[in-house]
């Protein structure tokens, strides 16, 4: 700051020179330099960092940032059918209202007294997810669904004392990459093929690969390719027969109509809650959940915080606190389970708001409607010459694979043509699943009208003619 005309920054009250001088005087320091005396001279930065000139007024900053953001063209300004882990659902206004409140937005890790509200809201989130999943234990959210799945597999390995996991090969290559990095070095990953006709896990391959060294069998409902694996009960049974656990990842917005995996015997259920009231935010709205039965051997393997309800010294008061805190890395450093840290709590609170708004009827209606729209989109798209919907005979929730092998165009080319017409086509999976040819993953949710789907179909027809 220049000596003659120092800037009193709105974010830094004590940058005011007379206050600074007074504080220095009170602590008996000649200058701020004294506080840095432990930093050797050769490690000190000479001069200032090389950064752009600041935009000191809020107005200038707004102009600059809005100028940058104006270069974006959003999914809502266009017609988007992108999904693949991040979904365009309607976000109720109350969700935004609650997660904008400074009391929640700017709090961190207060105690269960001064932050009673945070503890209750997250306990209620866990509880509502518990109802949706029919399970008694749900964690304070972890980073995202990838982390939830990866940690679930590690939990399964610790619980069973085994070192190999079987993963259904319909899992996305990005998630497999995460598993590869996260399960290293202890846990070996083995893939189980899927049926080219059904998109479901190949039970014969599973029977060959399952054995008493397998810690977990992992599959997703719906799968990354959009199919609902109706053999779920048999998969779980095969896993259990050999002493393995079954880990199932779900999209929680489907659970008003789909059976929660606990009902077909899954041991650990996980997934991402972005669907439940989070905007897409270029992928910044993700948060992961892990759910299990209320058994000590499971609970003690959670790395996450688990908020629990407890009595206070006053009758009729709900108090809260951490369940089995001593298992965490906060308490035990490397002696804890994996690690715990800041993750995605605000999205947990928001998902709680979403579930409370939706209620049982809302969750059923949204699920039914998405399935109908998806089925309609599949039926209409499959009518187009040269375009196919793979695994058409299987049940789908909100995503399905569209194949362009019967046209003269690649997915990339089709998507460019769609983009020129204001449509974001499905995610290209031709590199991820080369055996599926020129294919991409389309997603339909409750935000899509019949007119939207019809426009897509007409445009696909036009660009692939």
């Amino acid at each position: 700051m220049s000596e003659e005309n120092p800037i009193i920054h709105p974010y830094i009250p004590n940058s005011e020179p007379s206050v600074k001088a007074e504080m220095l005087r009170e602590v008996g320091a000649a200058s701020i330099e004294e506080f840095y005396e432990d930093i050797p001279e050769k490690l000190r930065l000479k001069g200032y960092l090389d950064l752009p000139e600041p935009l000191l007024s809020e107005h200038q900053l707004v102009q600059h940032v809005e100028g940058l953001l104006a270069k974006n063209r959003t999914a809502r300004e266009n017609l988007s059918f992108l999904g693949a882990g991040c979904y365009q659902h309607h976000v109720p206004a109350v969700c935004d209202e609650i997660n904008s409140r400074g009391e929640f937005l700017t709090a961190y890790a207060g105690e269960p007294y001064d932050d009673h509200g945070r503890f209750q809201a997250l306990f209620e989130y866990q509880s509502m997810m518990g109802e949706l999943l029919n399970m008694d234990v749900v964690n304070v959210p972890t980073y995202d669904g990838f982390q939830a799945s990866a940690t679930s597999l590690r939990m399964a390995a610790r619980i069973t004392g085994r070192k190999r996991v079987l993963i259904c090969r319909t899992t996305s290559s990005n998630k497999l990459s995460k598993f590869k990095d996260y399960l290293k070095p202890e846990i070996e990953i083995n893939l189980v093929d899927y049926g080219m006709e059904t998109g479901m896990l190949d039970l014969e391959v599973l029977k060959e690969k399952i054995g008493d060294e397998i810690a977990a069998v992992y599959f997703e409902v719906p799968s990354y390719l959009g199919c609902i694996d109706t053999q779920a009960e048999q998969i779980v049974e095969l896993a259990h027969q050999s002493g393995a656990l079954c880990v199932v990842s779900v999209d929680p917005i489907s659970l008003g109509v789909l059976n929660p995996p606990s009902e077909y015997g899954a041991d650990i259920v996980c997934g991402d809650i972005q669907s439940l009231g989070m905007h897409m935010q270029f992928g910044g709205g993700q948060a992961g959940f892990i759910a299990t039965r209320d058994e000590e051997s499971f609970v003690m393997e959670y790395p996450s915080r688990l908020f629990g309800v407890a009595p206070t010294i006053v009758e009729g008061e709900y108090g809260f606190g951490d369940v089995a805190y001593e298992r965490t890395s906060f308490a035990k450093r490397e002696g804890g389970v994996e690690w715990v840290g800041t993750a995605s709590a605000l999205w947990g609170i928001t998902a709680g708001v979403y579930l409370a708004l939706m209620g049982p009827q809302g969750m059923r209606e949204i699920g039914e409607g998405i399935m109908q729209r998806t089925q309609y989109a599949m039926e209409e798209i499959t009518q187009i010459d040269g375009i196919g919907v793979l695994f058409f005979g299987s049940h789908h929730f909100k995503e399905f694979v569209v194949n362009f092998d019967g046209t003269s165009k690649t997915v990339r080319e089709v998507n460019q043509d769609l983009l020129a017409r204001g449509i974001f086509g499905g995610k290209d999976i031709s590199l991820e699943f080369p055996e599926l040819g020129q294919s991409c993953l389309y997603c339909v949710t409750e935000v899509h009208t019949k007119a939207d789907i019809d426009r897509l179909v007409d445009t696909l027809e036009e660009v692939t003619k």
Partner: protein, 523 residues
Amino acid sequence: MSTAISKKPTVRRFHQARWDEAIIFELSQSGQRGILVPEVEKEIQAQVGDAAAKLPKNMRRTTPPKLPEMSQLHVLRHYSRLSQENLGVDLNTDIGQGTCTMKYSPKVNEKFARSPKMIDLHPYQDEATVQGILEVIYRLEGFLKEISGLDRFTFQPAAGSAAIYANVSMMRAYHESRGESEHRDEMITTIFSHPSNAACAKTAGYKVITLYPDEDGYPSLEALKAAVSERTAGLLVTNPEDTGIFNPRIEEFVRTVHDAGGLCAYDQANANGILGITRAKEAGFDLCHFNLHKTFSTPHGCGGPAAGASGVTNELAPFMPVPIIDFDGDRFFLNHDLPDSIGKIGPFYGVAQNMLRAYAWIMSLGAEGLREVAEVAVLNNNYLLQKVLEIRGTSAPYAEGKRRIEQVRYSWEKLADDTGVHSEEIGLRVADFGTHYWTSHHPYIVPEPMTLEPTESYSKADLDEYAAILAHIAEEAYESPEIVKNAPHNSTVHKTKHESLDDPETWAVTWRAYLRKTGQETP
């Protein structure tokens, strides 16, 4: 008769909101709706019928989830009330959460983060449609490169600990690429570095060696020299440490580890006191990480979403998670072409809206502003240090008489010895005055700990008030300790009986488990 109203007392007569709010399930009224969902057009219904009903029985949900049924106002009101029973930076002088860098999150940045041009972007959109956000991330990377002196950054880790893990994973990949991963199986850290350094290294398969401070509170160089060997994979270290003490021999630490063939990662989750003062590069580090939700002002969100930024030198850059964001002179693009990459840390590119907030924050301050942040944060800390040490029963262990950087781990040991009142109890009493300090300082190396970090956001009057609260409570501890021991008094709830939370028979992580375990199961 005078109508003058007397001045406010030094410590405020706070009382937190106490709505005595029920658990949300108790507010349910059968048949109520909080929001309606779009109806499916009749034509679609006629064509496809009830798609869900066609599911095989074992995949179809038959019993509706027992979610609450509430009108919209009732949901809003419930959560608004709960929010009032919470303290954030917007409300309190949030300096009691040392190491966490609780600072003001500017509201204008909130507007950016919540604008349609940010929230309605899908991560798999065509790059041509997301040039604005890619440019923001690219430019933010440029800022952090300058702030650290390192060569490349990824923002894919969703938070600080995820960034530590990413750094450990990159170190592991580096050693693998040199055929040394088998025998380099030890990771070194210090006891006053964040517990996630030890925990992430352990999760990645390393044996963890933890260094303790010497009598002066500095990590022991002799201990490090004894610990390094051909088994050393690397060093994970914070500086200044959680005590607020800067390790002046950090360069020697790094050199010692390098000489043994190990790598060094600098935990800069909290870099608030040294922005523009000293950098990872000059000390010789190979990797570092920043928490955008600490130093760079993005809101803490009750514990996330956060954002971790991992930085590396060019030597480690081939191992970064994919994609990284590059610029070809014309367009910003997602570069997946890193054959030696550790792969994916998270599903997409990280918490993009927090990158936008951090970008805007840096743009509003510039280089001089960032240095002002650091200097004022350090001035505030040393001012508060003096005030706290004037309070009966306090001390600041280690490096006696020395200045600190951005925070101090204090001890109430003397007060506890004198009065039997413990730090944890003082922490709860603090809540009665509209602020807090957190009681987690594991491991309890410093007896009766209290870690305060007064960032640049707080005024001299704020610091004076906080010190006055502590002084008031210290007096209570000496004069009438039962007031402190029975705290909180003015909080939302009274002292909780925590014993049930450690007993599998009684702990209840969900309402359904609570009802079951207390014999109140609903039909």
